[in-house]
């Protein structure tokens, strides 16, 4: 048996190891050198958070996960759904009863909608109770409020799509509540229902709002929300031992991603 401390063996191993590492790292380095994506993702995932963050801080990610589930199942449902008054209900029946696992995907989307809203409220409660909405994170709270409104709007527009009696009359009630807004309420109600009365345009309009307009806005606002989370950092809980008013310590420049492997030579300013 070879001596593990044998320098020759070590050298051989490390040579092979280096070769394997190179095979793995080469594509990553190629990508990093041309896009900075690897460093960007590392910056996003391996940022520092306060030591006493806990499970409550995962509610935001949980909400995001619920939204991604909604997006994926929604795209799949859109492949089978037909947004016209004559076909909508039948296509929902088809999805539920005939399509393989259609019942499962529809169920995930239907129940996931509630999960999304519930998690939104839990996340909001966490932020409120921890005081995490305070300076300098007020703007992120405001973005969150818009996300909440858009989430509820998704629920409202999605409710019509099965086009059964419950869906139809619940939507009539919802649109008439809108129409009860003072002064311009009537215009808003008729705008929402896509015409002077609820009809075939209403369903198509709700479908478009539900799967194009609102999700697009939600994606954009989530991007902004996360940008601010990364820029401002995660707040400590109110009981944190690390007092929030500590002296600011200038941290050392973090080493660049994949330092020493692909870092281009430092360019010198041409001397006159």
């Amino acid at each position: 048996m070879a001596d593990p401390g044998d320098p020759d063996l070590m050298a051989a191993k490390s040579a092979r190891r280096k070769q394997v590492e190179g095979m793995v790292l080469y594509p990553l380095d190629w990508l990093e050198e041309r896009s900075g994506l690897v460093g960007g993702i590392k910056y996003f995932l391996f940022r520092k958070v306060p030591g006493d963050t806990g499970w409550a801080h995962t509610l935001g990610s949980a909400t995001l996960t619920a939204f991604i589930v909604q997006a994926i199942t929604g795209v799949i449902l859109a492949m089978f759904y037909k947004p016209s008054p004559d076909e909508a209900y039948a296509s929902i029946q088809h999805i539920t009863n005939d399509v393989t696992f259609g019942w499962l995907v529809r169920g995930m989307h239907r129940w996931g909608a509630s999960v999304f809203i519930i998690l939104l409220f839990f996340h909001m409660a966490r932020v409120f109770l921890y005081g995490a909405y305070k300076y300098p994170r007020e703007l992120n709270w405001i973005i969150g409020v818009f996300l909440l409104i858009l989430g509820m709007f998704e629920g409202f527009t999605g409710y019509l799509l099965p086009y059964d009696q419950t869906a139809y009359w619940a939507t009539v009630v919802g649109m008439n509540i809108t129409a009860n807004g003072p002064f311009v309420g009537t215009l808003m109600g008729q705008f929402l229902q896509g015409g002077p009365a609820i009809g075939s345009d209403t369903l198509a309009r709700f479908y478009s709002l539900h799967m194009l307009v609102a999700p697009g806005l939600i994606f954009a606002l989530i991007g902004l929300h996360l940008y601010l989370v990364i820029r401002l950092g995660v707040s400590s809980p109110p009981w944190s031992k690390e007092a929030a008013g500590d002296e600011y310590i200038e941290r050392e420049e973090p080493p660049p991603a994949r330092a020493g492997l692909v870092s281009p030579a430092t360019r010198q300013r041409p001397q006159p």
């Binding site: 008054p85 300076y135 109600g189 008729q190 705008f191």
Partner: protein, 313 residues
């Protein structure tokens, strides 16, 4: 002064009580909308005064406390003399041609964006502006409607729109008023939030009369009934046989339809709203209002919260 992650100074206004006065003013204004104009005026005055004080407070706190140099005006007029040399220019010197090109790029971009967005958004918004219309609907010979009982009449309002425009009206023949036949025609749209109201009491003492067209589509369906009133299944609004609200959340009586009699046939016209009907049957005194969305008052001080009716042609 650049403020980055390393800038640990908080930029917060100090606590102030002005917003409380501002909120009281707004609340008084909203209450005044229902109570009286005087309260509106007082509320508005309070809100404006306290809002101004608040803004002044904020601007003092922002400008004074920091001792920062005032921010450089972003777009100095092109002809203005350059800034004092003591302050090193944050941006490199700009030339008129540079500014012109920037302005042109932004202007052209805005123009192209506008050309695309205005028609698109206009198309979307138009649906809210068009307003409700009603087509005349033939409901068959007058003999369909015996005196003194309601006929639950279901019909297609607009054949082009098809099944989604199927509506229901409760129609009662009241006998002759002078020489002309008098009808009470109630819309089944609840005046609370638009659910379909149902007759209270036994419905089909006789089978429904169903009229079918050549393709086999149901044109109209007439079911006799003698209800004691009408009730809404959604939130429990109750109406009497004249459509007046007697209980629950509705804000006015049931809407009614205009009608005409053409060659001995009953023809349905537009719907209109009614706050409350006095007397009954052919003696009913009805003050016709423009058709409004369910839930909107058509009479009294609240009515001016909803100046826009559903029919606007």
């Amino acid at each position: 002064m650049e403020s980055g992650p390393g800038d640990e100074k908080t930029h917060l206004p100090s606590p102030t009580l002005w917003p409380i006065g501002f909120a009281i003013g707004l609340a008084a204004l909203l209450v005044g909308l229902i109570v009286s104009w005087v309260v509106v005026a007082i509320g508005a005055a309070i809100a404006v005064v306290f809002g101004l004080l608040w803004v002044i407070d904020l601007s003092h706190a922002h400008g004074g406390a920091e001792g920062e140099p005032p921010p450089v005006a972003e777009a100095a007029p092109a002809g203005a003399p350059p800034e004092a040399p003591a302050e090193p220019a944050a941006e490199p010197e700009r030339f008129p041609r540079n500014r012109f090109l920037e302005g042109t790029t932004l202007g052209l971009g805005a123009l192209i964006g506008g050309l695309i967005m205005v028609p698109s958004l206009g198309l979307v918004a138009a649906s809210g502006i068009e307003g409700q219309t009603f087509k005349d609907v033939d409901l068959g010979p007058l003999s369909n409607f015996p005196e003194g009982q309601f006929i639950i009449t279901t019909f297609v309002e607009d054949p082009a729109a098809g099944e989604v425009s199927r509506r229901t009206a409760y129609i009662r023949y009241n006998g002759l008023l002078g020489e002309l036949p008098s009808f009470t025609i109630l819309s089944n749209r609840c005046a609370h939030l638009g659910c379909p109201v149902q007759p209270n009491g036994p419905v089909a003492s006789k089978p429904s009369e169903v009229v079918v067209d050549k393709q086999g589509n149901v044109v109209r369906k007439l079911t006799p009934a003698k209800p004691a009133g009408f009730g809404c299944p959604c939130h429990g609004g109750q109406y009497d046989t004249e459509g007046n609200r007697i209980a629950g959340p509705p804000v006015r009586a049931l809407d009614r339809y205009e009608y005409s009699i053409v060659h001995g046939r009953l023809v349905l016209g537009s719907a209109y709203s009614v706050a409350k009907v006095k007397d009954t049957g052919k003696d009913a005194k009805i003050k016709k209002e423009l058709l409004h969305n369910p839930g909107q008052h058509v009479e009294g001080p609240e009515a001016w919260l909803w100046p826009i009716p559903e029919i606007r042609t």
